[in-house]
Amino acid sequence: MMKVLHGDELAQALTAGFRCLERYRDPINALNVYPVPDGDTGTNMLLTMSAGVAKCAQSAGATAGQVAALVADGAFWEARGNSGVILSQFFKGIAQGLEGKEVCAGADLAQAFRAATQAAYRAVGNPVEGTMLTVIRCVAEALESRVAQDGAGDDLLALWELAFEASKEALDSTPSLLPKLQEAGVVDAGGMGIVVILGGAYHHLNGQDAAQIDLELNTAAGQIDPAQLASVSVESDFLDSSTELEWGYCTQFLIQGEGLDLEQVREDLGQQAESLVIVGDDRVIRVHVHVEDPGAALSYGVARGELSQIKIDNMTMQNQDWATGHQERGAPKSGIALVAVAPGDGLAQLFRDSGCAAVVSGGQTMNPSVAQLLNAAESSGGREVILLPNNKNVAITATQAAERENAAQNLYVIQSRTVSQGVAAALAFNAQVSAAQNLQAMADALTAVVSIEITRSIRDTTLEGIAVAEGDYMGLVEGDLAVVKDTPEEALLSALAGVGLTDDHIVTLYRGADASQEQAEALSRRIEAQAPGVQIDLIYGGQPHYPYFASVE
């Protein structure tokens, strides 16, 4: 009988959970409630966990408490998206529960899950049941009640099995707790991520290979077909090679083009790189590789499409960063700086033009990590930094970034949930006045705009009682589905009509990568015809997946 888990065993179990998450990433990504191109939950959780798991592989002989702390630290910096941030807080709680423990006994595990539950619930301002929070809480409750029984906590394998089973049961209950899941016919994606991690860990402890097992999971719409899972685990090299992390350059970039072949890119780059994380679709592929020659990887990418968001880090330096606990470095900071997240080259230019000292590429489909936001904040040079996340999936990451410890910069977050809100807030920024005055003025400014987003449905569904077919254009007003039309232009006109334009309004139209200048100009004329006298400012935004953003103020 397994009475305790040693540090190495815990590291291996968590690594198995990570590998399992990697296999189930695509099915988890497919569980989006909104049929919009989105920051994928599976990918976000995977990237959040990757750095910590890689550090585990280098920490042979560490205590259980140390292993948990490594995973938590890595997850904190790499957290991205709502699910990633909650997962990072989950690991932070686990680490708090196991702090100072040489080994993990049954009671420790229950206590760790209790702490993890509390940390996860605290991570979100307004905890909602029927999400991964519920799954985490149900696991903690099941463990606590089992451990409370005399002697029942002595079998660690049985406890992990219980945790896995409890998580599956909780996951199945998520649609009945959260109507929007019911309506979309899915279980919660983040919740499934937790189930998959626990399932991978349990099966590993039970002597099975995490790369082979079928967890027999339900999505509510049906059971996941094991054939859907990644048959070859492209990231498996990542862990095997992680002892070589100090070697080479961490190279990241985005390829944008037409008819991109994701599998081919994975295969080709796999031959020259370690630590592959390559995700995307036929139009956008995000590449994260560790290579000896970043130039060769970039040349490969540029032959296939437009490159952007290029980031190259020397791994040796990165490891020094870890060693110093991510202490702030560089020149002394002064003044107050603005940093924005922007999902397109035109929008990045607009934010810089409006006074942002640094801009992070990212948005709905590309959620930046805590570390990326902090790097930008540092590069801004401000002693105080105000961050504009400009997306609801990035806002929580920004909040986590602001809560880091031992920082040389004060970081404040304006909760801008759309690009339109972000631009209004940026225009209210004034480096001559205090951070407190800016925060007030910027928060006021973003309430003065109505945000409209136009995007295309990626599947058939019913949302808030409105039937949406794949390929339809949806008009979201303040983030909620308002209209469904055949063309992006009709969707925008209809959404504007719903807002009720008067000649006193200013409409700012941000043209996405998918809309031409001619189309946008024709649309401007139609808006003018609809509301004579209204001021219309047309700006090239360059954002993917959203032909138009618009603000009305």
Binding site: Q349, L350, S354, L427, I506, T508, Q535
Partner: protein
């Protein structure tokens, strides 16, 4: 014998009002294509703005000479007056230096009080007007100068520009540099803070800017003095003055025009307010 107020042409005071209050105005210099013009004397505002926007060389301005101040001071001293000489912010212009040097050249004991207002344009004009009104009942220059100095903080100005292009070209953009962005058609509102041009807000169009100027005035009510100043659009100034009439009777609101000294920097279609709060 009386107390007389001297200011410089950057105060943009309407000539009638200056005459009525016995305020002497020393002219700045404007150089266009190597020809020197005295602000308000050799060059009308309409001529000036036509030249400014014609695309030729930008006019340059320079402070009044020490000699110009000496002449103005001497004339008043010979009539037996004491002088309170109030000028544009020393951080924007060397005018105060010229005035101080002129005073020094006239001897140690001349009854001249030189004041750096830290202000410009109609805000400086308001301070000069208040000083002139006080001078009518005062017994000495000091009796005028002391309260003027003490109350400078009550006077302020806000102006909305059509473009920051002229401020930038003229090299006076200072801290407003951050507002230079041109992708969105903002109408930046600037103010004078510690004697320097400082950015304040970025409303999205002329109407929003106009409303914001009224709000900024309202936030500082009750007011003792209120002025409206424009560069090229007289009807905008009339509209703004009308909107401000809730704060002071319209006939008490002084309308003036950005002269060349400031016009070079604010450019066409600029509109501003100046105000003095009640204590």
């Amino acid at each position: 014998m009386a107390i007389r107020i001297v200011t410089d042409s950057t105060s943009d005071l309407p000539a009638d009002l200056a005459r009525q209050l016995d305020i002497s105005i020393v002219a700045s210099n404007v150089v266009i294509d190597d020809v020197n013009y005295r602000d308000g004397i050799d060059l009308t505002p309409d001529d000036f703005y036509r030249r400014l926007t014609s695309g030729g060389n930008l006019p340059t301005t320079s402070q009044p000479s020490v000699g110009a101040f000496q002449t103005a001071y001497q004339e008043l001293l010979e009539q037996g007056h004491e002088i309170v000489s109030i000028h544009v912010s020393g951080k924007l212009s060397g005018t105060v230096n010229s005035a101080t040097q002129a005073k020094a050249a006239l001897g140690d004991d001349v009854p001249i009080e030189v004041i750096d207002s830290g202000l410009a344009s109609s805000a400086l004009g308001l301070v000069a007007v208040a000083a002139a009104q006080r001078a009518q009942e005062a017994a000495s220059g000091r009796e005028v100068a002391e309260p003027v100095r003490a109350n400078l903080g009550l006077t302020t100005t806000f102006f909305s520009l059509d473009t920051l292009e002229y401020l930038q070209k003229g090299g006076r953009i200072g801290k407003a540099q951050a507002f230079v962005g041109s992708l969105l058609s903002v109408k930046p509102i600037l103010t004078l803070l510690d004697g320097e041009v400082s950015p304040l807000e970025r409303p999205r169009n002329h109407e929003r800017a106009m409303r914001r100027l009224v709000e900024l005035a309202r936030e500082r009510a009750p007011l003792q003095q209120l002025g409206v100043v424009y560069s090229t659009e007289a009807d905008w100034a009339a509209d703004l003055r009308h909107r401000l009439s809730e704060l002071l009777p319209e006939e008490q609101i002084i309308t003036s025009r950005f002269g060349p000294a400031l016009g070079t920097y604010v450019g066409p279609k600029a509109l501003g307010i100046a105000l003095t709060s009640a204590r």
